[in-house]
Structures are given as structure tokens and as C-alpha cells.
């Protein structure tokens, strides 16, 4: 049984306890992340069954592999990485797009000036972007959805997104920038004013 103190512990502390044998505490991990995982998956995938399957698979894989977690590092990045891999598997299964980084020019070649998220724009645009995401996210090209969702909804940094998606930091910057521009364009076409 988990006591009340356990609920106040950080993710990494809970994971550490699960690793040491208190497996019942994995329930807290599920409670904390189930909604987030559903939200993340639903932003990238359209099929309801796929979303349910992915979320179930994420927690199954997280449980099986929990002992590989380095508790000195952020647990959520590790969990989102599993989520990303599961989403990639769904795409592969549906053969909607190739995920090989070798065939993406923005992964293959270096990009200039897009690897920095440490600016005030993020805060200013956060609300505006969240509003746009609600309205037109499903019309956005698939490769931009994940980095946009991770950045504006899940609030990960570029470095963390690079870790989750296993792509270069500069590529994260490029995709967020292009995705943002595409969303603004879609938003405008739908008759909204994003300014």
C-alpha cells in the first residue's frame, strides 16, 4: 500500500521506490501521466482505438523497462520517449509516413539559428499557440504535430524534445518554427485573426 507521503514525492523518487521493489507505487505514475499521455497521443493520432492502444502500451512498456530508468534524469522525458516510439510504431503500422531520419533533410543537415528556445517569445506565444492548437491542430502536417505538442502543451525544452524524438536540437527548432507558421496560415484561412 502507498501512504499519503508517496503522493507528494517527485516522479524520480517514486520510480526509485518502484525499482527497489515497491511496485504498487507504479499506480501513482499511471495516475499522474494517464491524462497527459492520452492528450499527447490524441494530438498526434486521429484514431480513437490507436490512442487507447498506444496509452496502454506506453504504461506496459514503462513497467517492463522501469529498471532502466536513470533516476538522476527527468522521468517524464523517458516516458514521453516511450510514447514517441509507440506513436512511430502506429505510423509505421498504418504506413502513413517514413520515420527514417536519413530521409529528412532537416535532420540530415545542420540548421542555423533555430536551436534556441530561451526567449521571451515562448511565453508570449504560449496562449496564442494553445488556442490555435485547439482549433486547427488536426490539419497540421504530421511531422510538426509532435514537437509542437511537446513544446507548447507539454512544455518541454528543445533539448528534452530532441531526447524524446531522438532528432537533432536544431531540427526541433526548425519543425517548431515551420509548424507554427503553418498553423498561423491555417488559422488565418479559417477566418481567425491570430494577432
Amino acid at each position: 500500500m502507498s501512504d499519503m507521503d508517496d503522493f507528494e514525492k517527485k516522479d524520480e523518487e517514486i520510480v526509485s521506490l518502484v525499482q527497489s521493489g515497491k511496485i504498487e507505487l507504479f499506480g501513482i505514475v499511471i495516475d499522474r501521466y494517464e491524462k497527459k499521455m492520452k492528450r499527447y497521443a490524441s494530438k498526434v493520432l486521429n484514431n480513437h482505438d490507436d490512442i487507447q492502444d498506444v496509452v496502454q502500451e506506453i504504461f506496459t512498456k514503462a513497467y517492463i523497462n522501469i529498471k532502466s530508468v536513470d533516476t538522476k534524469r527527468k522521468f517524464s522525458s523517458w516516458l514521453y520517449r516511450i510514447a514517441h516510439n509507440e506513436i512511430v510504431n502506429v505510423f509505421k503500422k498504418n504506413k502513413k509516413r517514413g520515420f527514417s531520419p536519413f530521409f529528412n533533410l532537416d535532420v540530415l543537415f545542420p540548421q542555423q539559428g533555430n536551436g534556441n528556445d530561451n526567449n521571451i517569445n515562448k511565453q508570449i506565444e504560449q496562449k496564442e499557440m494553445q488556442q490555435m492548437i485547439e482549433v486547427c491542430f488536426d490539419q497540421l502536417e504530421e511531422k510538426y504535430r509532435e514537437p509542437i505538442a511537446l513544446y507548447y502543451l507539454e512544455e518541454f525544452s528543445y533539448g528534452e524534445i530532441a531526447d524524446i524524438m531522438q532528432i537533432p536540437i536544431s531540427t526541433v527548432g526548425v519543425r517548431i518554427k515551420r509548424g507554427k507558421e503553418a498553423m498561423k496560415s491555417i488559422f488565418k484561412k479559417q477566418g481567425y485573426d491570430h494577432r
Binding site: 513497467y63 523497462n65 522501469i66 529498471k67 532502466s68 531520419p101 545542420p110 531526447d163 531522438q166 537533432p168
Partner: protein, 224 residues
């Protein structure tokens, strides 16, 4: 729940796999360098445009293709390492290719392969001996590389890295400066043990990038 040891072993195997692959690519590239020099192909540009044309036709394309495939495989493996995947692929690819080429070239010009090659010829090299005998010094119909063992009235006699002796006949000007112990590259048709040379180039000291091989061949030739 998988035990921690499973992940530790997996990480160790990954590190071991990538190291072995790296060393194997370096070995293949160094073998290509060795094969080019011992067969004399590396010196073909000395014959000008004609030599370059023959060079392209004589390159060990199968080994080069294998090296390219292995380098791509190495890059795919390396993309699982965080400090590598966080940077554009072109960076890691350039670094991997540079390391492989530099290490391969240095190993290729060292005495490493020459020792194995001569060991293979003398039958002291199990397993990969036939590989060295067959692939180590490929023979091309019209290109002959060797050390001059004696001079004759109308030419000279060379010993190839494979230990074969050929009499070279030539009216070419290049033949005049040739003397015992010189490393030479001969272009010409071979009939039996006689080569009718159309061109001869001496691999002089300043052109010889592979002193270890030349020294070994000379020692082998004159210490019999």
C-alpha cells in the same frame, strides 16, 4: 519487470557491437589501402589520364561497397547515442568517415597487413590466409607491380608481391633508369612469364608512400 542486469548487459553489448563494427570498418578500409598499394594500383595516376582510367576500372569496388554499407550501419548504430542524435546526421557522418579514413590509411600503410600477407603466403596464417592470398594482391591483366631483381639486355626481371617472377621486355624510355631493387609499375600484356611493357614507371622514394611494404619486399627478395 526486466531486471537491471538485463539493461546493463544490453548496454554493454551495444557498446561492444559498435566498437567491433568500428574496428571492422577500419580494418576493411585499411585493407583496401593495402590492396591498392601492393597491387600497384595506387601508383597508376603516374601514367596520366590512361592510368587514372585503369585505376577506376581496377578499384576493389566490392570492398568499397562493403565499407560504405558498414559506415552507414555504424551511423545507424551511433544515432542511438544522445550526444550524436542531438546533432545533425551530417556532422556525425563526417566525423565517422574522417576517423575511418585516417585510421584506415594509417593502418593500411603500416606493416600490419604486409605481415599478415607474407604470413599468408608462407602458410602461417589460418582462417584469413586465403583471403589475403586471393584478395590481398589482386592481379590485373595489364598492370604489374614488383621489385626489380635483375637486369637483362632488353629489360629486367621483377618479383611481384605474390612471389612470381616476370621478365619485362620494353623499348620504353622508362626502362633506362631502372636498377636492381627498384620498385616499378609496368603496364603491358603478359604472355606466360614475359611482359611486353608499353610503359614502365619507377616508384621513387619520394613517391613511395608505403616504405614498410617496399622494405619488406626488398628484404624478402635479397635475403633468400
Amino acid at each position: 519487470m526486466k531486471p537491471r542486469s538485463y539493461f546493463m548487459i544490453r548496454t554493454l553489448l551495444f557498446a561492444l557491437g559498435i566498437s567491433v563494427l568500428f574496428l571492422f570498418v577500419i580494418y576493411i578500409v585499411s585493407f583496401i589501402v593495402f590492396s591498392l598499394r601492393i597491387s600497384g594500383i595506387a601508383f597508376l595516376p603516374l601514367f596520366g589520364f590512361r592510368g587514372i582510367r585503369i585505376l577506376f576500372g581496377s578499384l576493389p569496388w566490392l570492398l568499397l561497397l562493403l565499407a560504405v554499407v558498414l559506415i552507414i550501419g555504424l551511423e545507424v548504430f551511433a544515432e542511438h547515442i544522445s550526444f550524436i542524435y542531438k546533432r545533425p546526421i551530417v556532422y556525425s557522418l563526417v566525423v565517422i568517415i574522417a576517423i575511418v579514413l585516417i585510421a584506415g590509411f594509417l593502418l593500411g600503410i603500416s606493416s600490419f597487413h604486409s605481415n599478415l600477407f607474407y604470413g599468408a603466403q608462407e602458410g602461417h596464417l589460418p582462417f584469413i590466409g586465403s583471403f589475403y592470398r586471393g584478395f590481398g594482391a589482386p592481379q590485373f591483366e595489364n598492370i604489374h607491380h614488383g621489385i626489380v631483381s635483375s637486369l637483362t639486355n632488353s629489360g629486367f626481371v621483377i618479383e611481384t608481391p605474390n612471389g612470381e617472377m616476370f621478365t619485362v621486355l620494353s623499348s620504353s624510355n622508362g626502362i633506362k633508369n631502372v636498377k636492381d631493387g627498384d620498385s616499378v609499375l609496368v603496364i603491358g600484356e603478359r604472355k606466360g612469364n614475359v611482359i611486353q611493357a608499353s610503359d614502365v614507371k619507377k616508384i621513387t622514394e619520394d613517391l613511395n608512400f608505403f616504405p614498410s611494404h617496399r622494405r619488406m619486399m626488398k628484404e624478402r627478395l635479397f635475403n633468400r
